[in-house]
């Protein structure tokens, strides 16, 4: 049992010290060009009690309310953040979104009504950081969680750190990399890409697209 644990621990290589296996280092960008008006951060909360220093809360914010859409798992047991985020986007008709808040270490899935409240609280606490008057349409934040199924989030720990995560927002490559690391679970490297492009009607404008993703197991997505 202990030997198995030791072997498995090696795969959490972005967790304890941020090291990436040599064979995977080529997939981690050393620089990037990121979209204007978006700020990101990766902050340590300690969602898992064993996590003593690795970022596990990602915060992504738009300087102005923006358009947003999402696709979600079609699994019938949808996690609380899936339900909460889908309803938020429906209510807002894909507009007026300010941020995305993501924790790793606990999926907040199959956690009942309490889990729904936890997901809603994460969104509302992220909203509070912007100090904007309510527009009557509820939260402006997409919420995501990843990790083990069937456990409640240590919600107060997360809520306490959201203002810190907001204060840590920035636009540098390091900020983006920290956010990409914060959403990792059994991933061995953070997954982050950025590109520039132009559009036919505005050939002189340089647009940017950037994205981060996570996933290593329980992967056969079927989202809509």
């Amino acid at each position: 049992r202990s030997q198995t644990s030791t072997t498995a621990q090696r795969h959490y290589s972005v967790a304890p010290n941020g090291t990436v296996p040599p064979t995977k280092q080529k997939y981690v960008p050393t620089k990037g060009t990121y979209p204007k008006g978006f700020l990101v951060s990766g902050t340590h909360v300690g969602v898992k009690p064993t996590n003593t220093g690795t970022p596990d809360l990602a915060f992504l914010a738009s300087e102005t309310p923006c358009a947003a859409a999402a696709v979600f798992t079609k699994n019938k047991f949808q996690a609380a953040p899936v339900t909460v985020s889908r309803e938020m986007l429906r209510r807002r008709e894909n507009t007026g979104v300010r941020s995305v808040i993501i924790n790793s270490g606990c999926a907040n899935a199959v956690t009942g009504k309490g889990g729904m409240q936890d997901a809603e609280q994460m969104g509302l606490h992220a909203d509070k950081c912007f100090e904007e008057p309510s527009d009557g349409k509820g939260s402006r934040t997409i919420v995501m969680s990843t990790g083990v199924i069937g456990q409640r989030l240590p919600i107060q720990k997360i809520l306490n750190k959201i203002p810190l995560a907001f204060n840590a927002l920035g636009t540098s490559h390091e900020h983006w990399l920290a956010a990409a690391r914060a959403i990792c679970t059994t991933d061995t490297f953070p997954k982050l890409l950025s590109r520039t492009f132009s559009l036919p009607s505005s050939p002189s404008i340089k647009y940017c697209i950037a994205g981060m993703t996570k996933g290593a197991g329980m992967i056969h997505p079927n989202m809509a």
Binding site: S62, A67, T146, A210, T213
Partner: protein, 232 residues
């Protein structure tokens, strides 16, 4: 679980974002498989704040829309491929391409079935050019498929089906099965091809023009080790 966030400073009308994202995801994140399990939490979000200025993409029949759709799909595909490259315990990155199909939906279904097959994935880990397992997965992939209209379900004809490995080094394909007849496989060359991290499996149905692609990885001992230790 798969999570993803994509952001752009291009101006896109909110009403168009869902179709742009759905089209991109169907050809990227919805076309990958590591272990065949669909999570309770999978979510991919797209945010567009228009901060770079310019003319808003406001029509789904505009040149800008088609251009952005292509950029977004390619970008999402590259992100999705990174997930496969980090599959738990994976040692290989495998593209499964099904061609000459009467419909894209059927081609994707077949590609996904091959990509999900534990026996195909363990053969890949063992560097075994086991076309029999690929053919087996192809053969059962469209059985009991209520989601596809009858007109879209191609008849898989064994005598028209071919299987090849496309090496990642650009050298000619290694034909394993041609029109249902097994080739005399050069085992040395097969081993050389399977030594590489990247590999492409091509299944030709010989019955149309449509194509479907999935990206997958192999199954290794490490996958069991990791997930035998992951506790709820």
């Amino acid at each position: 679980t798969l999570l993803g966030v994509i952001t752009t400073d291009a101006p896109v009308a909110p009403a168009l974002l869902s179709s742009l994202l759905t089209n991109a995801v169907n050809k990227s994140f919805n076309s990958i498989c590591i272990d065949g399990d669909t999570s309770t939490n999978d979510t991919v979000a797209l945010l567009a704040n228009g901060a770079a200025g310019g003319k808003e993409i406001s029509s789904d029949s505009s040149q800008d829309y088609y251009s952005f759709q292509g950029i977004l799909t390619e970008f999402a595909t590259d992100l999705a491929k990174l997930v496969v490259r980090d599959g738990e315990g994976a040692t290989k990155f495998v593209t499964v391409r099904v061609t000459e199909s009467p419909s894209e939906a059927a081609a994707r279904k077949i590609a996904g079935t091959v990509a999900r097959s534990p026996l195909v994935k363990t053969a890949l880990y063992g560097k075994d050019a086991n076309w029999g397992r690929i053919l087996c997965a192809t053969g059962y992939s469209l059985i009991s498929e209520p989601g596809l209209p009858a007109s879209d379900v191609p008849e898989i004809v064994p005598e028209k089906t071919s299987v090849s490995f496309m090496p990642s080094d650009g050298s000619p394909e290694l034909k394993l099965l041609v029109n249902g007849e097994p080739e005399s496989v050069d085992e040395t060359r097969a081993s050389q091809i399977l030594e590489h991290e990247d590999l492409e499996i091509v299944v030709r149905l010989g019955g149309g023009q449509a194509e479907g692609v999935y990206w997958t990885c192999d199954y290794s001992h490490e996958y069991i080790t990791i997930n035998g230790d992951y506790r709820t």
